[in-house]
């Protein structure tokens, strides 16, 4: 799966560990939530960044105490129909002010990029190479947004108010 990070295809520094993969000496690792919660202290002490893969049916509150210490949170889209991770992403970014890498994993298609960006994802394990290549183009597909989210884009409602006020100044 190609990784898109910072808007372009990038190398993935993280190695994904399963629940029982032996821990590598060094290097960046992405660890399943269960294992992370069990060994957090040890994992965070070693050299290399630690990221956590958080399933979409586990309460994000459990992760909150560690947010200052993890370098990446990977949220999971088991199918593209399952949108639970969108809510988790917004909670992480908007309620808990998480600023590290927020990665979308699983069934990630180009048609979800706009939604994911708006929910706060900045890194994407994309399913298809062609979709990864189309990232920038697809991410710019929309210029109008109706809802306020943590991405800070101005909403249509507020855009209208701005236009109205600037007209007002002119007359």
């Amino acid at each position: 799966m190609p990784l898109v990070n910072g808007g372009k295809i990038a190398d993935d520094s993280f190695v994904k560990l399963a629940v029982d993969t032996p821990l590598p000496e060094s290097g960046d690792i992405l660890v399943p939530a269960e294992r992370f919660l069990g060994e957090a202290e040890g994992l965070l002490k070693r050299a290399g960044k630690v990221g956590v893969i958080w399933p979409n049916n586990r309460d994000i509150d459990e992760l909150v105490p560690y947010l200052g210490k993890v370098a990446a949170v990977a949220l999971v889209f088991p199918t593209f129909r399952d949108g639970r991770a969108y809510s988790q992403a917004r909670l992480l970014r908007e309620r808990y002010d998480y600023r590290g890498e927020l990665r979308a994993t699983g069934q990630v298609l180009r048609d979800q990029f706009v939604f994911m960006l708006r929910a706060g994802f900045d890194s994407f394990d994309v399913k298809k190479q062609a979709d990864a290549e189309a990232f920038m183009q697809t991410a710019k597909r929309y210029s109008v947004f109706y809802q306020p989210t943590g991405d800070g884009r101005i909403t249509a409602l507020h855009r209208r108010m701005q236009l109205r006020h600037s007209e007002g100044v002119g007359t």
Partner: protein, 551 residues
């Protein structure tokens, strides 16, 4: 009328170009059917029995004449010359080619019409009272709030992949014409003691396999908080709604399993976090939306113009007027309901010619505005009373003056086996047969208000649970069988009907309905006692007896 501005139009156009790209990728094989399915559903495209079906949104049921003409154009150019108005303030086309869909959408986009989220597991078209803004006594025009919510729920980045579809309906009148109690969220616009505008919020209503009447979750949510409150409900639902079983995925099941108290505590917890965020709506924003709804420059007209007095001599006109013309909040004007239920025809269908002609009539007599109601009828919301006789003549020529609104032949029916790939039974032919049986206007009038609702399967698109008489087609040993319920209703006193006994065969349905009606006529205490009141007073027993005694 609400007019999309450049900002709204840009979004609709961006959506069309995205869908064009998606269709291209599907046709080239780059997208699998599984991947494409979700994308096409979000654009209102189903794969049906015979072809792709295309569902177009009519937000809160309001159409401008040029929009209705655009729908006629789509019917003519891309379909077989007609469209089917549904119970959700949508219109469906049954014979569209996939490759032509992007063009059809582009043609509609020119007049600010789209098919965004008319299907799929996201927030569907926001529906409202088809008499919004003109009904006497309403709190205020509910479309202002409907539009606010329409915008907020369109391409929402958190709620476009919910466990299941999600429907919001809004009313602002005592008499609920928006059927809010059978929606995932129902909103009733009210004023509190301080005179502030807000909403009673209901949640967890819905029909289908497991029908529920919505429960009140909050008696008053201030208008400025309505978006954050809805967002809180949706966030709880997105996280905890069931995804393991499609039949249990609707919010009504979550509300039922948790209980309304527990569910409302969850929502409140969430709400406290987001209530004072940028979701809060200040008056200025609402005023801005309000300012983009324009209302006709009504004239000062007499309550009883000469034209109307003269026409009253014509019994046919009078029959229609009594049935189809309702009071308007402005003196001298009326709301005219246009029955799409001519005897012997499929309920809710309109031809391209009828749509075009209606658009012309709307221009001439109703300030260019048309409404679509959940009963699958249309309305002209601002007709000067002096124009009623002329309008009636014109409608009659188009086959659109059947005086049966709210009568027994004003049947709501889903497409059933004629079009729908999920159907177990036919709906439309049952409706057609029933309209023929009760074609006599004197008889229908004698019976009075009586709603028949028909669905071709348990999904309940024809709202059979809330029909005064509900007819549900099921399959039994390879045969179509129909279960009959009575006593349901979808208004402010909404309730589910009660099954009267074993299912009956296709050929027997009309006879059974006749039996029920005869029983009612014999049982009612006075002519003013409506069918529903008789059922309420006596229960289903006497009806059951009448129907099954001889079968």
């Amino acid at each position: 009328m609400y007019a999309y501005d450049e900002i709204d139009r840009t979004l609709v156009n961006e959506r069309v170009s995205e869908f064009r790209d998606q269709v291209k990728r599907r046709l080239s094989g780059e997208l699998t059917e599984d991947e494409f399915k979700l994308l096409r559903l979000q654009n209102g495209v189903y794969l049906q029995l015979h072809a792709y079906m295309f569902r177009v949104a009519i937000p809160y049921g309001t159409l401008a004449s040029k929009q209705l003409r655009a729908l006629a154009h789509v019917a003519r150019k891309y379909d077989r010359g007609y469209g089917h108005f549904t119970t959700r303030q949508n219109i469906q086309f049954n014979w569209i080619k996939l490759a032509e869909l992007p063009d059809a959408l582009a043609d509609l986009a020119k007049v600010g019409i789209h098919a965004m989220q008319t299907s799929g597991n996201n927030m569907r078209n926001v529906t409202s009272d088809q008499w919004a803004g003109v009904a006497p006594g309403e709190i205020e025009d509910p479309r202002i709030w409907s539009e606010l919510i329409r915008q907020h729920t369109t391409l929402h980045p958190e709620f476009s992949f919910l466990p299941r579809k999600f429907k919001i309906a809004i009313t602002a009148s005592d008499h609920d014409r928006a059927a809010i109690k059978i929606h995932d969220i129902g909103l009733r616009l009210i004023k509190n003691e301080k005179g502030e505008t807000g909403f009673e919020v209901l949640v967890g209503g819905g029909l289908g396999r497991t029908p529920f009447i919505a429960k009140t979750i909050k008696h008053f949510v201030h208008g400025r908080d309505i978006l954050s409150y809805i967002e809180a409900i949706l966030r709880v639902y997105n996280q905890y709604g069931r995804r393991d079983n499609i039949y249990k995925a609707r919010i009504k099941i979550l509300v039922h399993e948790l209980g309304i108290e527990k569910f409302s505590r969850e929502v409140d917890d969430e709400w406290q976090h987001i209530r004072n965020s940028s979701l809060q709506i200040d008056d200025e924003v609402i005023e801005d939306i309000r300012s983009r709804f324009t209302y006709p420059a009504y004239e000062k007209l007499p309550h009883m113009p000469d034209e109307l007095r003269q026409a009253a001599a014509d019994p046919d006109f009078e029959a229609w007027r009594k049935n189809s013309v309702a009071a308007h909040k402005v003196q001298g004007y009326s709301i005219v309901t246009i029955s799409l239920k001519p005897i012997g025809k499929p309920p809710g269908d309109a031809t391209a010619e009828q749509m075009d002609a209606l658009a012309d009539l709307a221009d001439r007599y109703s300030f260019g505005e048309i409404r679509v109601g959940h009963e699958q009828n249309l309305a002209l919301p601002h007709v000067a009373k002096r124009d009623l006789p002329a309008l009636w003549k014109a409608l009659d020529k188009l086959g659109l003056a059947t005086p049966n609104v709210n009568l027994i032949t004003d049947i709501i029916a889903c497409p059933g086996l004629d079009y729908c790939s999920l159907a177990n039974a036919r709906s439309i032919p049952i409706a057609q047969e029933l309209t023929r049986r009760f074609a006599n206007h004197e008889l229908a009038n004698l019976i009075g208000r009586l709603h028949i609702n028909i669905s071709g399967c348990i999904n309940a698109c024809g709202h059979h649970h809330v029909g005064h008489i509900g007819i549900l087609g099921v399959e039994k040993n390879g045969e179509e069988v129909y279960q009959i319920t009575i006593g349901g209703r979808a208004d402010e006193n909404a309730g589910l009907g009660t099954l009267i006994g074993p299912g009956v065969k296709f050929d027997e349905v009309a006879d059974v309905v006749e039996d029920i009606v005869e029983a009612y006529l014999a049982l009612r205490e006075r002519p003013e006692e409506l069918f529903m009141d008789t059922v309420k007073r006596l229960g289903v027993e006497p009806f059951k007896e009448r129907v099954y005694a001889t079968r």
